[in-house]
């Protein structure tokens, strides 16, 4: 395979399909400026920039990115930031603001901030900087000087070195790693390599390697299949391709689904959202995945492709069978997710409760929507073995005069017993079962208050 490392063409062979970009840089390229702090996507010490189809750069966690996936891309590391001995302005700013103490997190922050500084920025500069470093942890500085450094450089964009031109992206891929460009090709590969694993962003899958030391010998990368990365809002249906990243969704959906887009800011970090996809979130089938509750109240439909050809449709609600189990059969893949545009316009609320505001996994995640028939739809993550609709609660509430500003509160009081029928949540490292149960009720109350009397409170974003 071939990629460009800080402007230098770099050819690689004889490397396993699941070697991460970070491992490769540190172990085989003596490119040691990029650090490993966790190998699980949580700390950002391994952050670097990878060129995208549009020629700009995205920050990613190199610890979770297969080397093979940067075929034809330019990879910028901290060693490539300074040009001709001149520090990149963010590097100078970080020196000037005393933004490094032990220095171990510093290369990662420098890369996130250099990425945030490649284009002109409109709007709230501070929010832009915080978003850029949402996946970078620093244990020494308390962040203030790092944010200051980011703010110092922000007024003047500093373009990054140009990425290689498209036609140069030809080289033999690494054995065991396929990057099909069409669903036809994908189906062929699925037939030929029944044991291969599908990888979209790899932000869930790669943890099997970096945390459990399992080998992933055969990987089929979905990110180059246009029909899977596309977001299509023509017509009555919104189709989100399974391999569309969160960052792409944020861009495409800000007008169509503003509540969802602002909720996405609490899913992972900027680096995770640059790689993670909707299909990965759904197919990983975690009970605490953040998009399913919203998709459930939207009554989303899945289009599932098959190795042998053809598609099947399934309602998301029917897709989850049990803890980490779905109806997806061998040789099947999720192609896209369909939402009704009429329902997208319905009043809806989304909440996430976690110990930390940014880049944390939900203890409880709740989605609420008044559908076109005036019926309340409720779904929760973190409350059961799968993301689930609160059917009994919905049935109870929808029978009451719950949109009456005088009555809604008493109705919600009574709804607690129906929530208890719908869910028996568990205790784990993130929360106790009692707290989870209480949160389901609190979020329901919040949502109804917001939907009925328009009074909405979220302290997390209070600044």
């Amino acid at each position: 395979m071939r990629f460009w490392l800080n402007g230098k063409q770099t050819d690689v062979d004889g490397v396993a399909a699941d070697i991460t970009l970070l491992q490769h840089l540190r172990e085989s390229r003596s490119s040691l400026g990029t650090k490993e702090g966790c190998a699980s996507g949580d700390c950002g010490a391994c952050t670097l920039l990878v060129s995208d189809d549009d020629g700009s750069y995205r920050s990613v966690n190199s610890c979770l990115m297969p080397l093979a996936s940067v075929q034809g891309r330019q990879v910028l590391t901290v060693e490539g930031l300074a040009q001709a001995g001149e520090l990149h302005p963010i590097q100078q700013a970080m020196i000037d603001t005393h933004a490094s103490q032990c220095g171990f997190c510093t290369p990662g922050f420098a890369m996130s901030l250099a990425g945030a500084n490649q284009h002109a920025v409109e709007g709230d500069g501070r929010a832009h900087i915080l978003d850029a470093i949402s996946g970078n942890l620093c244990r020494c500085t308390g962040y203030k000087p790092i944010v200051e450094a980011g703010l110092q450089v922000l007024p003047k964009p500093n373009p990054l070195p140009p990425a290689p031109a498209c036609e140069t992206r030809t080289a033999q891929p690494l054995p065991g790693y396929w990057q099909p460009t069409s669903e036809t090709e994908l189906r062929g590969l699925l037939e030929q390599y029944p044991d291969a694993r599908l990888i979209a962003g790899g932000t869930d899958l790669m943890l099997e390697g970096t945390q459990q030391y399992r080998e992933l010998r055969q990987l089929i990368d979905l990110s180059h299949i246009k029909s899977l990365t596309r977001i299509d809002s023509a017509g009555d249906t919104l189709c989100i391709g399974a391999a569309a990243t969160y960052s792409a969704q944020e861009k495409a959906l800000s007008a169509l689904a503003p509540a969802y887009v602002s909720f996405l800011l609490r899913l992972g970090s900027r680096q995770i959202r640059n790689r993670g996809t909707l299909g990965g979130n759904i197919c990983n089938a975690s009970p605490i995945a953040d998009t399913p509750p919203w998709l459930l109240v939207q009554e989303a439909e899945l289009i599932i492709g098959k190795a042998g050809g053809g598609f099947r449709y399934e309602r998301l609600e029917d897709f989850y069978v049990d803890y980490k189990k779905t109806t997806l059969a061998a040789g099947e893949y999720l192609a896209d997710v369909r939402l009704s545009r009429a329902r997208l316009k319905c009043p809806a609320k989304l909440y996430k409760v976690s110990k930390r505001f940014e880049d944390d996994i939900s203890a409880v995640c709740g989605a609420f929507l008044i559908n076109p028939n005036g019926q309340l739809r409720i779904a929760f993550g973190g409350m059961a073995a799968v993301p689930k609709r609160a059917r009994a609660t919905e049935a109870f509430i929808n029978k009451q005069d719950w949109r009456n500003p005088e009555k809604w509160s008493a109705i919600i009081d009574q709804a607690a017993q129906y929530l208890a029928q719908d869910f028996t949540p568990m205790t784990d490292v993130r929360a106790s079962s009692e707290y989870r149960a209480a949160m389901a009720h609190s979020l329901l109350r919040k949502a109804c208050r917001a939907l009925v009397v328009g009074d909405d409170v979220e302290v997390g974003i209070y600044a």
Binding site: R26, K35, V78, M94, Q101, C102, C140, Y435, V459, A463
Partner: protein, 784 residues
């Protein structure tokens, strides 16, 4: 004659001018940090034949090991060597103070994750895969996992210790008001960004070079030598920098060095042992959990008459540094307050969990939190603003004796608190917040001002010494070595400033080189905030020695008075004349003046008599105070810190930028400890907060925009290095204001009539339950 160099130092530019004390120069490695060129242990060149280590871990909290079958481990691809306890040629126990920390477990395991055997393999993944192949038979034994259980079963790693002043029982019993309380304070994972790591390289004749990410290279040297049964002179331990330490690399780094060295000795190959984050979070010690209980008697003004406190620390399975840690909790259970009559009992609980260890503050934060919790409880009981109760009880001249007999001599806190109260507009905000809370139900705001007074010196007296080694070369450049280690706190920068300033030279003339046991021997750990106090003085002492010889030479050679020889502004002033520094040094060299010296320092005045529990354990105290404001959501317990104002005393600052960095960083780390960082075990003794995916240190978003840190400008009255004060640990405790503000917000739900219990950390869940307590109280009509 051999040629002397004609290399001229770069001509002074503004930033290469003679070093100034108190200048905010960047960290000496800042440029290396931002360019990715700063080297950490894992960045050293990787020789072809390098081996990687992993350990096989106990899956039980307490068990007899009946049999271990390692044949599949040996057969695993890439494995080169496997060791068990019996393969250790020298000492098995690597405990730092007492005993009981076997490098590899023998026939008994005492925590989940305890290393049973170790593997050296050709890659890290190969080593990690191999250790999972072992078959181990256990006989599971009952385990003690919680402090309460340890207390009930008298399970302790060390005997208790007690401080006593006056007659607390009588004072409490006769006081107009008595209350009692309890708070459980969870520990904290260090989460240094660079995980534990060490690399050992065999040298000739059985000697070894050990690169380590350690706060205590001398102990690494000692333990490696003991484990391998070598004289100490065969082992050199070296530390250039750590990617964070925070106490977590004071004792916890050594076992990695010992295992790497053991394999290096056995195989003759270089060996690296880097813990993946998961192993690090499971296998290395953390901040202690503490269960704190108090009983207090006070008068109508909230003035303390007598206090009885019990502080029980969860030490884990062995003593490690727990004696000193629980002692320091006890020494800080008064924080800033005159207790009048006091009994402070410190218990060292043994549990079958990883042995807890040093963490920024070293027990102190747990003592401070206990008394600050008590202050709030007293205030609510009397219906006063907690700030007034705090001010009422501050140490003052005449009310200045600590429970351990040391008299407080410097009284900065009344002035600090008064200034902060003004600058933060505390009173007006208090009124405004109270009004807000009265008219809002789903959100409440909280405010708190808490002080910190932190004792500076190691409580183990012999550790209060330091050495340095200074070389002056004939081009006028210098190398300074000292016993301290750089973990980001800016010690090297401060030493560089001290040495450059002593010779009137620019910083660029002084290289602070890596800390090595063959440069400066028998050093103390870089801990207890003492790095600059001790090593800065030792470095200054080395400078003074060389300067004395240079001055004597100049007096004779140039016939000037000693007072006329001055090292200033990059040159040497000789009466009316001036000479370039390098030229002068060359002249001194030709005249056979020694240009190298060792420096030494021992802290004066300190002593502590354990039998009577009285003495002066601290040379001085560092002080500060913080005001924090929060807003909470009463329906979910979620919250946000909205403003923080800090005024902190660092004496005469050697480098304000570095000191402010320590304060901001310490504050945020303390805030994490008390808010989002929840260290949890399951009921089999397994750490379940074992990854950054489920253990959440603060991110930039958690830091309020309004975060104002100001230095309290006053020279240390003690003769510390240039009258500065230690700054590493004390600011961590300023974050107790966040915890107290959260509690304040919860109390507002019951119109401040009760102090709902909130354990630490105050996660959203904890805050939610505290709000429920307050609601329940209010629902009962507020009657107690």
């Amino acid at each position: 004659m051999r040629k002397l160099t004609d290399r001229k130092p770069t001509p002074p530019r503004p930033h290469t001018q003679a070093a100034q004390l108190g200048g905010s120069t960047p960290h000496e490695s800042a440029r290396l940090h931002v360019t990715g060129m700063a080297q950490y242990v894992d960045d050293t060149a990787t020789p072809e034949n390098l081996l990687y280590v992993a350990t096989g871990q106990s899956i039980h909290a307490h068990a007899k090991v009946l049999a271990m079958d390692l044949s599949a481990v040996w057969a695993s691809p890439g494995v080169v060597d496997v060791v068990v306890q019996a393969d250790i040629p020298g000492k098995v126990d690597v405990a730092p103070v007492y005993s009981g920390d076997p490098l590899l477990a023998g026939d008994e395991v005492q925590y989940v994750g305890q290393p049973l055997f170790a593997v050296a393999a050709t890659s890290m993944a190969a080593a990690q895969r191999a250790v999972k192949c072992a078959k181990v038979d256990y006989d599971v034994l009952p385990a003690v996992l919680e402090i309460e259980q340890a207390l009930a079963q008298d399970s302790f790693v060390l005997p208790q210790h007690k401080l006593l002043m006056g007659d607390p029982d009588a004072a409490i019993d006769t006081a107009p008001h008595q209350i009692s309380g309890e708070v459980y304070v969870r520990g904290q994972e260090h989460f240094y960004l660079e995980g534990q790591i060490s690399q050992a390289t065999p040298l000739e004749d059985g000697a070894l070079h050990v690169l380590s990410s350690s706060q205590h290279p001398t102990e690494v040297q000692k333990l490696v030598a003991e484990v391998l049964d070598l004289p100490f002179h065969k082992v050199v331990a070296e530390v250039r920098r750590m990617g964070g330490g925070f106490g977590g690399k004071e004792t916890q780094a050594a076992p990695l060095a010992c295992l790497a060295a053991l394999f290096a000795q056995r195989t003759g190959r270089p060996v690296r042992y880097r813990m993946p984050r998961h192993d690090d979070m499971v296998q290395t010690g953390k901040r202690h959990d503490f269960l704190n209980r108090y009983r207090v008697g006070f008068n109508d003004d909230g003035r303390l008459l007598g206090v009885d406190m019990t502080l029980a620390g969860k030490c884990g399975y062995s003593a490690d540094l727990s004696d000193g840690i629980v002692d320091r909790a006890m020494f800080h259970a008064d924080n800033a307050y005159y207790l009048n009559n006091a009994s402070i009992l410190g218990l060292r609980c043994k549990t079958h969990t990883v042995s807890n260890t040093a963490f920024r503050g070293f027990g102190g934060p747990k003592g401070v939190l206990a008394v600050e919790c008590m202050m709030d409880d007293i205030a609510r009981h009397l219906g006063k603003d907690p700030l007034d109760v705090r001010i009422e009880n501050l140490y003052q001249p005449g009310r200045d004796e600590t429970p351990y007999g040391q008299t407080i001599e410097q009284h900065q806190l009344p002035a600090i608190i008064e200034a902060l109260e003004q600058s933060s507009n505390y009173r007006a905000r208090r009124a405004e917040i109270t009004a807000y809370n009265a008219s809002h139900e789903t959100t409440k705001r909280g405010l708190a001002l808490t002080p910190v007074k932190f004792g500076i010196s190691f409580t183990a007296k012999h550790l209060n010494q330091a050495g340095a080694l200074l070389h002056l070369y004939t081009d006028g450049s210098m190398q300074i070595s000292h016993g301290g280690t750089e973990m980001g706190q800016g010690l090297y920068s401060k030493i560089q400033t001290i040495v450059a300033h002593a010779f009137g030279q620019p910083l660029s003339q002084v290289a602070v080189v890596s800390t090595r046991t063959d440069k400066v021997p028998n050093t103390s750990p870089t801990a207890a905030s003492s790095g600059t106090d001790l090593n800065g003085m030792a470095a200054l002492n080395a400078c003074e020695k060389i300067k004395a010889d240079l001055r004597a030479f100049a007096v004779e050679h140039f016939q000037v008075a000693a007072t006329e020889v001055q090292f200033l502004e990059g040159a040497v002033k000789l009466g009316a004349e001036s000479m370039a520094f390098a030229e002068f040094i060359q002249l001194a060299y030709l005249n056979r003046v020694p240009l190298s010296a060792t420096g030494f320092y021992r802290t004066p005045k300190i002593n502590y008599d354990r039998a009577s529990a009285k003495g002066r354990p601290f040379l001085y105290f560092a002080n500060g105070a913080a005001v924090s404001e929060v807003i909470i959501d009463t329906e979910t317990g979620e919250y946000r810190v909205t403003q923080v104002d800090v005024l902190h005393d660092v004496g005469s600052s050697l480098n304000p930028a570095i000191d402010i960095g320590q304060i901001e960083g310490g504050f945020v780390q303390g805030m994490g400890w008390l808010t989002s960082e929840e260290l949890l075990w399951d009921d089999t003794g397994r750490v379940i907060s074992n990854s950054p995916a489920n253990y959440k240190i603060p991110t930039a978003h958690d830091v309020p925009v309004a975060f104002n840190v100001v230095l309290f400008d006053q020279a240390n009255q003690e003769a510390t290095v240039h009258r500065s004060k230690a700054v590493g640990e004390p600011p961590l405790m300023l974050a107790i204001s966040v915890w107290a503000a959260l509690r304040d917000a919860c109390a507002s739900v019951a119109n401040y009539q009760i102090s709902p219990r909130i354990n630490a950390p105050a996660t959203p869940e904890q805050v939610y339950w505290a709000v429920q307590q307050a609601k329940a109280f209010a629902a009962k009509g507020g009657a107690q």
